[in-house]
């Protein structure tokens, strides 16, 4: 019999692994940012499941911090991608590894 805690943690693990695979196989910068979002969301799900397992509010507090961090990370990341796109005229992350100084 699978308990609810086990099922939630397995789901969080599956979602996190999907984000990790996407992060590893993509070369488009926006897709990499999206996969970071998927991974952060999976981590938040694990915190919520843990909060419901122990009946303590700390897990939900941590999820709110993850939410704030994700919002800040997305805004700065999108601004960085905008600068890179204007400089390189492409979203290929391999292009950014060459220093055409």
């Amino acid at each position: 019999m699978i308990t609810s805690t086990t099922a939630g943690l397995v789901l969080a693990g599956i979602l996190f692994t999907m984000g990790l695979v996407s992060m590893l196989i993509r070369r488009n910068l926006i897709f990499m940012l999206v996969s970071v979002e998927v991974m952060l969301n999976a981590a938040g799900l694990a915190f919520i499941v843990a909060a419901s397992r122990w009946g303590q509010p700390e897990g939900q507090v941590m999820f709110m911090f993850i939410l704030a961090m994700a919002a800040a990370e997305v805004s700065v990341g999108l601004a960085l991608i905008l600068q890179l796109y204007h400089q390189l005229k492409t979203l290929d992350s391999d292009e950014a590894s060459k220093m055409n100084g």
């Binding site: 488009n28 998927v38 601004a79």
Partner: protein, 176 residues
């Protein structure tokens, strides 16, 4: 564990699989919204209704709107999707996918391993307790999160600003 959890979990996994396999960025973002909404349903099932509302408002609302407007601003269309199709060959994705699959199998095995804990029931945590905890022992972390958001705003403004192109006045005169 009711059927509602398994349906929402299946939708979350399917839509996330669609996110990581699409070539067109806009399709991927729309599937990601579906995935976030189903995760919000799962939050509700796990006794966190306020967090479910925050997930819908901030993740599926604010962050996804930001990314969709960004994609529209860069005007990425068919050409970008063609690039993506060109980059994403099986030779590229089969290795990392298999390695991560092994890691996931190990993780699931370890989660399943110990005997079932005595308290397997879902405990409802009401938003009042979350608020009391947030503004009691965690008040310093809340202020730090506010400073992080402020740094994010300033950083995004600084990085996103278009630099005014300054040419030398002699060059300028030469081009006129």
């Amino acid at each position: 564990m009711g059927a509602a959890f398994y349906i929402a979990a299946a939708i979350a996994i399917l839509s996330t699989a669609m996110v990581i396999t699409r070539y067109n960025i806009m399709h991927a973002l729309l599937y990601l919204i579906v995935s976030l909404l189903s995760v919000a349903v799962i939050f509700y099932i796990y006794g966190a209704p306020f967090m479910a509302a925050l997930e819908v408002i901030i993740y599926a609302g604010a962050i996804m709107v930001l990314m969709i407007f960004f994609v529209m601003m860069l005007n990425l269309g068919q050409q970008s999707a063609g690039d993506e199709r060109h980059w994403l060959t099986p030779r590229v994705w089969i290795g990392p996918a298999l390695l991560c699959l092994f890691l996931l199998a190990e993780l699931v095995y370890l989660i399943m391993q110990p005997p079932a804990p005595p308290a397997g029931e879902i405990v409802m945590v009401d938003p009042k307790a979350v608020g009391k905890s947030l503004f009691g022992p965690y008040i310093l972390a809340v202020e730090l999160a506010g400073m992080l958001l402020m740094a994010g705003i300033v950083g995004a403004y600084h990085l996103g600003r278009q630099k005014k192109k300054i040419t030398h006045r002699f060059l300028e005169r030469a081009t006129q």
